[in-house]
Symmetry: C2
Subunit: 115 residues, 2 copies
């Protein structure tokens, strides 16, 4: 845990989060400023500032973000309608919390404007 | 390889691709319709239709997409300015080629309009 990281505090239960999924490796909670009907953030329990800060030893954990996303999409009943997974890396790309997280976005037709 | 998959054909060299990175697990090539100054697609050599079709045994490979993205971002000199990683799952989310791929988008300030 990094003491000044808001996501570490949510994961530790020090700040409330609306959790939708948890396992030993990751947690998932609703974005407090949703931009789609389903907007969930999936984050590893282990702190990494960003994708800049991962290496080969982290690959199983990072891959688990995808299988967790698949499970959560099924749970949220958006598997069939489709979902977009986004990881922003760096402030210039829109990363606002520097603890790696994957956005799961669903529940509306998606544009092709990814940037 | 799936015989009717355009990305399997690019990976096999049957259709030309502008490759920027290759290793034993993944390949990366430029999107032919870029929507950002840097727009690269990173795909596993192994065919999966989408995130719907992965399970726990695929996690190391899926995590490798992130470490490959990190390397490619450094190679493209966009690590510092930031990059967005996007995986669309299902036609409703904008997936157009049904072979898992991660978009690496960079080279311009990014909006917060992810959908």
């Amino acid at each position: 845990m990094t003491s000044d990281c808001i996501f570490c505090k949510i994961i530790a239960g020090e700040i409330p989060g609306q959790f939708v999924y948890q396992d030993e490796q990751v947690v998932a909670f609703r974005d407090i400023h949703p931009i789609a009907p389903t907007h969930i953030l999936i984050a590893p329990r282990k702190h990494f500032d960003s994708v800049h800060h991962v290496d080969a030893s982290d690959e199983p954990l990072l891959g688990h973000l995808f299988t967790a996303a698949r499970l959560i999409a099924e749970q949220e009943k958006v598997s069939q309608s489709g979902y977009r997974l986004v990881v922003n890396t760096g402030a210039g790309a829109g990363q606002t919390v520097f603890h790696i997280h994957m956005h799961l976005l669903a529940g509306k037709p998606m544009s092709d404007k990814l940037v």
